[in-house]
């Protein structure tokens, strides 16, 4: 009896990595109030910050810790004919960020800076993103940084202003969720397919109110870049944030990065980071499980990221759903997408391919796509672009000749930015046309009014570019291997 009590006591003490990081950042707590949480890193871009800086000016407030802020331009920037910005409103927004960073003393990687890139790609690249940090940005894909074992989440502009002025946020402690990915992923299956399969299986609202820790053999086997792809799309499952506990892969990635600790300090930090991992016996509010061995290369066919299937599947029919809301959801999605119930995914012709975005525009993503297109030609009815996630990624890719592989195949090789993921710049898919996209959202109009988006991995996008329709990349890659 007393022995049992003792064990229970220990169980209560055990904490998840989520609780450990959260508790370390509480500045103030009081019953009936959210926690006042300290923010270690605030990333800033041009679209969600101007109103926040304007708010500071109007109230005569300053930025409390400019040294904990880092800004870049990504959403609006053109990806060709730099430095000309044709859109005067976009230009104004970009110049406003420049002016604000200067006025408030914030470091900025502007359009001409070698560090410029998508905010969620450059944070990790520069070593700003580290385990145990709280990281925010006025962008929902801030969850990307969770790959390092950080609590990273997107915030609105009012919260951007709040962090600028106080370096804190009032936050209710989210619930915890473990998503366990058991087994090993099969040949040709990528991190993108894992996360699309998770969202498809559990739904786009499953993570609401939770921070997710991804665990399991399949997750442990992923590189940092692949882990970023997984965590990036946590928000597509509704989660406040998603993270992966730090391990040797995390530490080796960070070693020597510009803003990571150096020398002995790094070794000490690494020890602290590893100690953040979830204690044995720690309880999550919810645990979900998926078997990696059942995951195929994925293609979305609908208008939210949960509407997707493995490549060998067919589009569902209304008979597959029970509720009227779901049935009508399927009907209106297929009407928008111009697809039929029960249609095989491989029968869908595409006109555009976009390889880019904070989900899939790191070097290994471009490498995976290049492996598929090497020596082949883009289908004559397809327009295909590659938009590296950052200047650094672009340079690394060029150093190993990936640009030439893409150009020879008929792809356009562009400058870095968010580009066609949300089509705020000139990279827009025309109405009624279809895009195989390595981005994260297939919402109506996301890539242009009336545009039809199919989310896929970089290798699946590359394979579709060559074939002109979706194909199982495993068949092509197998042929290459033979």
């Amino acid at each position: 009896m007393n022995k049992g009590n003792g064990l229970e006591g220990e169980t209560i003490m055990a904490k998840t990595i989520i609780e450990k990081i959260w508790d370390q950042h509480i500045v103030y707590e009081e019953q009936g109030k959210p926690d006042l949480l300290y923010i270690d890193l605030h990333l800033i871009h041009e679209v969600t910050s101007p109103q926040a800086f304007e708010g500071l000016r109007l109230a005569n407030r300053k930025v409390r810790r400019p040294d904990l802020c880092f800004a870049t331009m990504d959403h609006n920037v053109p990806t060709k004919n730099l430095p000309v910005i044709n859109d005067p409103i976009a230009k104004k927004q970009i110049m406003t960020l420049e002016k604000n960073c200067e006025e408030f003393g914030i470091q900025l990687a502007d359009m001409s800076h070698p560090d410029q890139g998508i905010v969620h790609i450059i944070g990790p690249e520069l070593g700003l993103t580290q385990p145990g940090k709280t990281i925010v940005c006025g962008d929902s894909h801030t969850s990307t940084h969770g790959a390092f074992g950080a609590i990273a989440f997107g915030i609105g502009t009012s919260e951007v202003e709040h962090v600028l002025s106080t370096q804190t946020l009032w936050q209710n402690k989210p619930k915890t969720m473990e998503i366990r990915v058991t087994g090993k992923i099969g040949f040709g299956v990528t991190a993108k397919d894992i996360i699309l399969a998770i969202i498809s299986k559990f739904g786009i609202g499953v993570g609401t109110g939770h921070i997710v820790e991804y665990t399991g053999e399949a997750i442990r086997g992923l590189s940092m870049e692949e882990r970023m792809t997984i965590c990036n799309m946590s928000i597509e499952a509704g989660a406040k944030a998603g993270l992966i506990g730090p391990d040797e892969t995390t530490i080796e990635y960070l070693r020597g990065r510009r803003y990571a600790p150096q020398g002995q300090e790094f070794e000490e930090a690494a020890e602290r980071w590893l100690a953040l991992n979830t204690d044995e016996g720690a309880q999550f509010d919810q645990v979900l499980e998926i078997n990696a061995e059942e995951i195929e290369p994925f293609v979305t066919w609908g208008t939210n990221p949960s509407m997707g299937s493995g490549i060998s599947a067919k589009i569902p029919t209304t008979a597959d759903y029970t509720s009227e809301t779901e049935k009508s959801g399927l009907r209106s999605a297929l009407e928008y997408m111009g697809l039929e119930e029960g249609q095989p995914l491989t029968s869908i012709d595409i006109q555009h391919v976009f390889i880019g975005s904070c989900t899939n525009a790191r070097l290994s993503d471009l490498q995976a796509a290049a492996d598929v297109v090497n020596g082949k030609k883009v289908h004559p009815s397809v327009t295909a672009i590659v938009v590296p996630g950052s200047r650094t990624v672009k340079k690394q890719a060029e150093d190993i000749g990936l640009d030439q592989i893409f150009i020879d195949a008929g792809f356009e090789w562009r400058e870095s930015g968010c580009s066609m993921c949300l089509a705020m710049n000139d990279d827009v898919v025309p109405a009624g046309e279809r895009c195989a996209s390595t981005s994260n959202r297939n919402f109506e109009g996301r890539q242009g009014a009336g545009a039809r988006t199919h989310l896929v991995s970089p290798s699946m996008a590359a394979a579709a570019a060559i074939a002109g329709h979706f194909v199982d990349v495993r068949k092509i890659s197998a042929a290459v291997h033979n």
Partner: protein
Amino acid sequence: MEPINKIVSVLTPLDKNNVDTDQIISKEFLKRIERTGFGEFLFYHWRFNADGSKNEDFVLNDPRFDGSTILVAHDNFGCGSSREHAPWAILDYGFRVVIAPSFADIFHNNCFKNGILPIKLTVAEVDEFLAKGKNAPYQLTVNLEEQTVSGEDGTVYSFDIDPYYKKMLLNGWDEISLTFQYEDQIAAYEKQRA
């Protein structure tokens, strides 16, 4: 921020689930550097056809709901992008209350910062109000102090709300000024971590 307490209005029935912030405010309208003026672009691609004409089938173009300040929709309202332009557009258009069975986290937070009251009711309660308000104007009375939503036929449902956010909305407080009262704690935290 304008305080909010009692709101009486016909409801606007938005019979959809998973309404994402890309639909609420499309990316082509995110380039403004002000907080105001987004209302005319709310649900733009649902309100207007490709040629710019009004989509008469969309609920916001139904004159029976003109002047409504209460929007009612299905599950997971406001999912996707963190853009606060979404609540700015909703507020600027004239809505003060959004009722749904569930909201996406970031959108939910953003509402409180802008004097919009997001109310969670059960699926059955939302379905009932949508059914009643779909074919004929149906008036709701929202009382934040009492945490109730009442229909014109006497139906009353209560809702939960975080006490901290309730107070903020009732008083129209600016959260940053409130946080400045904790300056000592923030400074102490920074010192201890340095």
